[in-house]
Symmetry: C2
Subunit: 232 residues, 2 copies
């Protein structure tokens, strides 16, 4: 069987829900609704006022994005199994500011606001974990702001790719197969620039493409570029 509990057990040991006491986990799962998503399915929509739940990723991967004032899509992050999404609107009870869609077939757990907060309050340890996750997110965003402001197109795309590398699958596989438009929205570039950069990198042997699949050949190089800029 593939009950939520099994899925949780297979996650990283420091993942949020694994921090809970069995009894509390049980109680939380009782009130949570599991849900399966096909690639492209939307689970949270930008602008929703009644965002009374957080989403916990059991398997697959979610894409967090919003459309900016200019009408362009901006992809903020991709969430992996074990991560929590949508808890921000829940914490400050504001409206949803981003849309969350499945990047690939995924299964998630919808945690209703009330029971989620209750469980947290009853388990300070897990609260520290949530705070830690928020802290990481702030750090990650600082990186993106730095990258946006100080680097040219190459390093920015490099950062986007590095953030997409699948840490489970070996050999430079990505979390999913993004279109060039997606990469652009993630890196803050136009689709055309992405296309030109990828061609160049393919020639240099940094990435390769088999069909529509993108493979990272020299991840180290990309990491250096993302951190230090064009000529590392």
């Amino acid at each position: 069987m593939d009950s939520p509990k099994d899925a949780i057990a297979s996650l990283a040991p420091d993942s949020l829900l694994r921090a809970l006491e069995p009894a509390q986990l049980e109680a939380l799962l009782d009130r949570a609704s599991p849900r399966s998503l096909e690639a492209g399915d939307t689970i949270i929509e930008q602008g929703d006022e009644d965002g009374d739940f957080a989403v916990f990723v059991l398997s697959g991967g979610l894409k967090v994005s919003f459309v900016s004032a200019g009408g362009r899509e901006i992809i903020l992050s991709y969430c992996r199994p074990g991560e929590l999404v949508g808890e921000i609107a829940l914490l400050d009870s504001g409206p949803r500011t981003a849309t969350v869609t499945a990047a690939v077939t995924s299964s998630v757990l919808l945690l209703p606001s009330r029971s989620f907060l209750e469980t947290l309050m009853a388990n300070p340890d897990s609260m520290v974990r949530v705070m830690r996750e928020l802290a990481q997110r702030v750090r990650q965003q600082n990186l993106v702001i730095e990258s946006d402001r100080t680097f040219s197109a190459g390093p920015r795309l490099a950062l986007a790719l590095v953030r997409l590398i699948d840490r489970e699958e070996g050999e430079g596989r990505l979390l999913y197969s993004p279109s060039q438009s997606d990469l652009g929205a993630f890196a803050g570039l136009s689709r055309e620039s992405v296309s030109r950069l990828l061609s160049e990198w393919e020639n240099r042997g940094i990435v390769s493409r088999e069909g529509r699949e993108l493979r990272i050949c020299d991840g180290e190089y990309l990491k250096l570029m993302a951190e230090f800029g064009e000529e590392a």
Copy 2:
């Protein structure tokens, strides 16, 4: 007298430390060190490994910044009284990624990691507040990323100014008197662009300058520009 406790009492009612039980506050203050800062004094340095304390702003204002890979300064935010800074390194026990200096004469409270966390754990309510503050920060950063990516120089500078408006002092006063370089580092612009924009806005009556002091005349206009772009 102006003991920390008095200072705290004068802060916004939803501020973090005011959430504590009197006994807990007492205990925390016992282990905290108050500190006075002159404008320009540094209290946290980017790269510090032993960042075992958070900083609570009692009065004045702090500037949070770091120097990017390109050597340019990036200003992430300005902290007002009642806000907490430097808790991120503490939560995930990473190194300090930003430098914190006093923008004006300020008084702060240094909260040692241990007692801070202990107090939080003992008071779930205050933990929720910290989470809320982190959530706000994430939202704010999303805004900055959006602004960086979709807007030209004008709206970006507008956002920087809006973020600097002093909500206490009426009449478009700023938190402090930033140099054009500071504004550039905050908005992600060159010093020269800031200069040109401010001149233009002064002609249009949107801002005014008395000496080195910058005054916001039409804050609403700036807010619109920051949110929707050049021609609002």
